[in-house]
């Protein structure tokens, strides 16, 4: 295929898109809807992962000392653990005061004296990396003078379960939407091929190569896929931007801030563009395939 053929094919692709404007618009919109929903799932998934990571990295191990524990010895033991970043001691009387404040009735707790304070001394331990939480907690459990160790493992486990569930749903839905988009493009391009079947027949008699016959349809499908992807990205971006702004305005705790960094969003929107273009290109190749069989 030379430059003249390429130029001719480009022109034919544009002519065909112009001739079938409504059909092309319908396909583009359908591809956009499929990719938009797909992108929505990707954004949701990215946000769930982000929240889980934030929670994990903020996990604090609460170490409840036994009533008869040697607090100073335990403190130095905790501090020497390699994975530990920070150890804060909350003495029992301080713990009582904090509990009173947290429950909004500090006076109620004035009935407790240092002698009858039921609360133990507590250490708040932070580790260097989220992945080290459970191993550090296990090590601490074995230390003398430790009564109970708690780091909200149930919450982390639940979040991980949600992530796994969301990921499975995401994969299944993505596959369905991806196939749907491909079949749509195939159907539309096939209509376009059927409308030009006579022309394709004449082209073959005139000695046109399969590549030459294929190229206008390939371009047509690719353009529809790319336009659909651009439309999906634009709508998704606007919606996500508005939604994340309103979530941020709700002044939720730090760990519920939505993902906004380009490093995280870039691959998602880039992926939508690549996927849309690939769906259009691949769909058009599948649609034209059976019309190009040589005897």
């Amino acid at each position: 295929m030379n430059f003249n053929s390429l130029r001719y094919s480009l022109r034919q692709g544009i002519v065909s898109l112009r001739r079938n404007t409504i059909l092309a618009l319908v396909t583009t919109t359908m591809v956009a809807i499929s990719l938009g929903v797909l992108g929505g799932f990707m954004l949701l998934s990215a946000n769930v992962r982000h929240v889980v990571r934030t929670i994990e990295s903020n996990v604090e191990i609460a170490v409840f000392a036994a009533m008869d524990a040697d607090v100073t010895a335990l403190y130095s033991q905790l501090s020497t653990l390699q994975s530990v970043r920070e150890v804060i001691l909350v003495p029992r009387d301080e713990g009582l005061r904090e509990l009173g404040l947290a429950l909004g009735d500090a006076e109620l707790f004035q009935v407790f004296t240092p002698q009858n304070n039921p609360l133990p001394d507590v250490f708040r331990v932070r580790v260097r990396a989220a992945a080290e939480v459970s191993s550090a907690a296990e090590a601490i459990r074995g230390m003398p003078g430790v009564d109970t160790v708690d780091y909200g493992e149930e919450i982390v486990a639940q979040l991980l379960a949600i992530t796994r569930w969301a990921s499975s749903l995401f994969v299944a839905t993505s596959a369905l939407l991806g196939f749907g988009a491909i079949f749509l493009v195939i159907a539309i391009i096939r209509l376009s091929v059927m409308a030009r079947q006579e022309e394709i027949g004449v082209m073959k008699y005139l000695g046109a190569s399969n590549g030459f016959i294929r190229l206008p349809f390939f371009l047509e499908g690719t353009v529809m896929g790319l336009l659909g992807a651009l439309l999906a990205s634009l709508v998704l971006w606007l919606l996500y931007d508005a939604l994340s702004a309103s979530v941020q305005n709700m002044a939720l705790p730090l760990l519920l801030t939505p993902v906004t960094g380009i490093a995280l969003l870039g691959p998602i929107f880039g992926g939508i563009l690549i996927l849309g273009t690939a769906v259009g290109a691949f769909g058009s190749l599948l649609a034209i395939r059976r019309y190009l069989h040589d005897h």
Partner: protein, 229 residues
């Protein structure tokens, strides 16, 4: 140029042979009429010569090369040496006369300059230069076939295969078309025409290959139309 050796053709699902044990040679620059009743195998033979499909058995060679052995690129090159003319013209309705003829050059990658030079020449040769902006629907049957012939010859092919080219036109027009083919043949292009038009065949006194039920029953160097067709 073309050698057909013991070629038989049976279509899938059919017990009858469309062609049976055909052997003939078409020399370079020859003008050959393929004649015979409907279903005699004329169109099938043309399609085999174009290598639209391969024969069930036997061998067809072009300048000594087996058509069945052509790879994709060789097949394209071979087909590009052939101009096809059809009974139903097969012009593209949405293209003008000029564009239809230009199409033959564009699909094989000729430059716009080459197209602008070659198409008017071909149209002048078939006497349709002044109708170049017309669409096929605005032309008579004879004019449409002239466009078909211009399209077939614009690439200056070595061989023109025409399947009942005068089937849809009146006798006078048919004669003019045949004279056009004869003129093209004089420039050195080999021409093979499948036809029913006995008047033309008689008048042109060219080689006649007659088929009956898929077999060659006559091959006459300066023949006329013999038998009931």
């Amino acid at each position: 140029m073309l050698n057909v050796k013991e070629v038989s053709q049976r279509y899938p699902g059919s017990k009858q042979y469309a062609l049976q044990d055909i052997t003939l040679t078409v020399g370079s620059g020859e003008f050959v009429f393929l004649v015979g009743q409907s279903g005699a195998g004329k169109s099938t033979l043309l399609r085999l010569l174009f290598r639209e499909y391969l024969p069930s058995s036997g061998l067809i060679t072009y300048r000594g090369r087996n058509l069945a052995r052509f790879n994709g690129r060789e097949l394209l090159n071979y087909r590009r040496k052939i101009g096809m003319v059809f009974q139903d013209f097969r012009l593209l309705k949405q293209k003008t006369v000029f564009e239809n003829v230009a199409f033959a050059l564009e699909v094989v990658g000729h430059s716009p300059q080459a197209v602008r030079k070659a198409v008017p020449e071909a149209l002048a040769q078939v006497g349709l230069l002044d109708r170049r902006h017309a669409f096929p629907a605005e032309l008579s049957g004879g004019e449409q076939q002239r466009v078909g012939i211009a399209r077939a010859m614009v690439r200056k092919p070595q061989l023109i295969l025409a399947d009942e080219p005068t089937g849809n036109v009146d006798p006078d027009t048919a004669l003019q078309l045949m004279e056009l083919f004869a003129a093209i043949n004089k420039t050195g292009t080999t021409i093979v025409i499948a036809t029913h038009a006995s008047d033309m065949v008689d008048r042109l006194r060219q080689r006649v290959v007659q088929l009956e039920r898929g077999r060659v029953v006559r091959d006459d160097k300066r023949g006329g139309y013999v038998g009931e067709l």
